[in-house]
């Protein structure tokens, strides 16, 4: 008898795998983007099942809210939503080889992880302790502003660099034309 958590995991599992395949096999980029949104929602569900509530909420806000809107916006802007199945040129043998090598890659990864064996807890954040600290979000926030303070500040530089780079890319193009 599977637990409710397990049933939810299986639902998210099936939806995510199916929509991930749909991302790479859809002819239309818009369909790919919508499938990717479904995949990211399922990932958010699995994060919530792993009781990573902050990450689950940010997954929906940042990924499906911001990044995917950006993707769909660019697809619309470029009028690139013409259905083109670019797999059509490859032969059936090539498709077979790609499928087999993908499956082999998956199998190698799984066997590498299985070799890792049982892992003993190395830190002290048991579920009870997270609960008494005031929940997942409070505990992670405390960690971000103490142990990872330097990295947290560095991300602001990263975002600044990304903004400058994007503006530079857009501006240089305009001055050339």
């Amino acid at each position: 008898m599977p637990s409710p958590q397990m049933i939810a995991f299986l639902v998210f599992f099936v939806v995510a795998i199916a929509s991930a395949f749909s991302v790479i096999l859809q002819k239309n980029p818009v369909s790919s983007a919508l499938s990717l949104i479904l995949t990211l929602f399922s990932f958010a569900g699995i994060y919530a099942l792993e009781s990573a509530h902050l990450v689950a909420a940010l997954q929906i806000l940042v990924y499906t809210g911001a990044i995917m809107v950006l993707f769909i916006f660019v697809i619309m802007l470029l009028a690139a939503d013409t259905p083109v199945l670019d797999l059509v040129k490859t032969s059936r043998f090539t498709k077979f080889v790609i499928g087999v090598s993908g499956a082999t890659f998956f199998w190698i990864l799984v066997s590498l992880v299985r070799r890792a064996g049982a892992i003993a807890p190395t830190d002290q954040w048991t579920p009870e302790k997270i609960e008494s600290a005031g929940g997942n979000t409070v505990a992670i926030s405390g960690l971000l502003f103490s142990r990872f303070y330097f990295a947290f500040e560095l991300t602001s530089f990263l975002i600044l660099a990304a903004i400058v780079a994007t503006i530079a890319l857009a501006k240089r193009q305009r001055s050339q034309s």
Binding site: F9, F13, A16, V23, Y47, A52, D86, G102, T166
Partner: protein, 104 residues
């Protein structure tokens, strides 16, 4: 009662499957936008592995790392899409096969 519960290896196998799908997608697709989406798929699967191992280790470091990875993913997709738009303006295409400026 031997209840079937969610175990770490299940989420890790799931994440590895999604990573493989993303990798195959990058190889087989020629549309730059779909290739960027496959990069997002792979980033997400690695995030899930971080979360899972974080739980196994009873640590919260993985969660914090995932937050940083999300920031990097947002910056990466912003710059990547900017590059795609710049390429489309010069070449009028988003097909990776037709980007051969050095060959002409």
């Amino acid at each position: 009662m031997n209840q079937l519960v969610m175990e770490p290896w299940m989420t890790i196998a799931f994440a590895l499957a999604v990573f493989s799908i993303g990798l195959v997608g990058i190889v087989i697709r020629r549309n730059l936008l779909v290739m960027l989406m496959c990069v997002e798929l792979m980033l997400n699967s690695v995030n899930l592995i971080f979360i899972t191992f974080s739980r196994v280790h009873q640590s919260l470091t993985g969660d914090a790392v995932v937050l940083f990875a999300m920031t990097i993913a947002a910056a990466e997709s912003a710059v990547g899409l900017g590059l795609v738009i710049a390429l489309y303006r010069t070449l009028k295409t988003v097909e990776s096969e037709k980007i051969q400026l050095l060959r002409d």
